[in-house]
Symmetry: C2
Subunit: 250 residues, 2 copies
């Protein structure tokens, strides 16, 4: 499963490996479900924590899409999460006090990493610049990293590029910030559509399988849907395939 | 010298400690002088490495000032360093091949930290978000941190705020990125003028003495010139004064 394969040419140009975060680095569904369960334990509602977590998350893409389409000005994910939570509470007919709404909003800063995330990033960091390239904002990603021990070199939030992936500027601006050409940056993600946009922008690409991001009945992103430069089972496998398992610095 | 004093009220509100970098965290003069000496060892010029380093650095503020005044659009410090190097070489009548000019330009990414910097930041990081708030750009600061082992949680470069300190937006935008109020952020700096601007923006302030930043004949910033919230002899002293020497997380 984790045998090292020779790096392809596209990989040898890479100096930075940037990561989609929600679903790829951290397990948002377990984390948010657990946070909602704590709310339910105190307030008696909502009844079905998983359904509530899924409904909240289902508003994520549509809310960013309004920003992408220019229907509203750039708004951070923290604010979108709060707005989407308020709407989800209304959908479920649930009332919560404001401090509890704040606590849930900031639960996105305390999501658990997948079991291999910290180990794999620690290996990759020896050889590459590593950082999130996420639709999360800097504050959210910084607190998440601090809470979880994610060993980022740099944090590239959507409020820096002021674009939401998969808009091309989100990738291109990240490369510019690192003074790298697009082909010197790799995006690692569990989502084929994110990798397709990154490749379109000129990035190298790595698919990492996260087969339970959306729960036991996940139907999408169960395999690589293109010839991504690397296809890995987890972050330790990714590090090994990128020659970072026992390497000296680049 | 390093006895812990009680935190003042201004300090108890602080969640993030951001650092001026050149001169405060790293010893740019020793680093650049050493890089110029390596150039001289290979190319025979320039003759006086310290004078060359000082002349190169003397163009730093004027070059940023043209950006501050709107006389040119935002330009990264990497580019300004390269332009200023070219001008300094002309002033000294020195010709160097392009790869050597690139090597010198990127010497700013490999400056040595002051002896207490990494130890103090490691202590402070237990309790606070720590990061540079520098006129350097993200790529420069990221590579510097990686080279030197500076344990930043987040890197706030001037190309994120697109303002050069001491412009107020440089401080205010940094607080916004961290979703903090200005009074929840402390600037630590060896330069009184930087602290004055940070205080004006609402930040807490910490003066850290770096009495040889400009060499043995340094004449400015040899003491705190106002009642900054903390006045420290080095970063370990700062950590102790901020209660981060042996603390649990905030």
């Amino acid at each position: 499963m984790t045998s090292t394969r020779p790096a392809r040419d596209a990989v040898s140009a890479v100096w930075a490996v940037l990561f989609d975060t929600f679903g790829t680095v951290v397990d948002w569904r377990s984390g948010i479900t657990a946070a909602v369960r704590r709310t339910a334990a105190v307030h008696g509602v909502p009844r079905d924590a998983e359904a509530f977590a899924d409904a909240w998350r289902a508003k994520y893409e549509p809310s960013m899409d309004r920003v992408r389409k220019g229907l509203r000005q750039f708004t951070t994910l923290t604010r979108l999460h709060r707005e989407n939570l308020t709407a989800t509470l209304a959908d479920f007919g649930v009332n919560l006090p404001d401090p509890e709404i704040e606590r849930l909003t900031h639960a996105w800063e305390q999501l658990p990493p997948w079991p291999d995330s910290v180990a794999g990033l620690t290996m990759l960091r020896r050889r590459y610049i590593v950082g999130p390239l996420s639709n999360g904002n800097v504050a959210l990603l910084t607190r998440m990293a601090k809470h979880t021990g994610l060993p980022w070199d740099v944090i590239i939030g959507a409020d820096v590029t002021r674009r939401y992936k998969p808009q091309p500027e989100a990738y291109l601006h990240a490369a510019t910030l690192l003074e790298l050409e697009p082909e010197q940056v790799m995006l690692a993600a569990a989502h084929n559509h994110d990798l397709a946009a990154a490749r379109q922008a000129g990035f190298a690409t790595a698919f990492v399988l996260r087969s339970t991001e959306f729960g036991p009945s996940q139907s999408g992103d169960l395999q690589a849907e293109s010839d991504w430069d690397v296809i890995a089972t987890d972050f330790v496998d990714l590090a090994e395939r990128l020659g970072a398992a026992d390497s000296s610095p680049h």
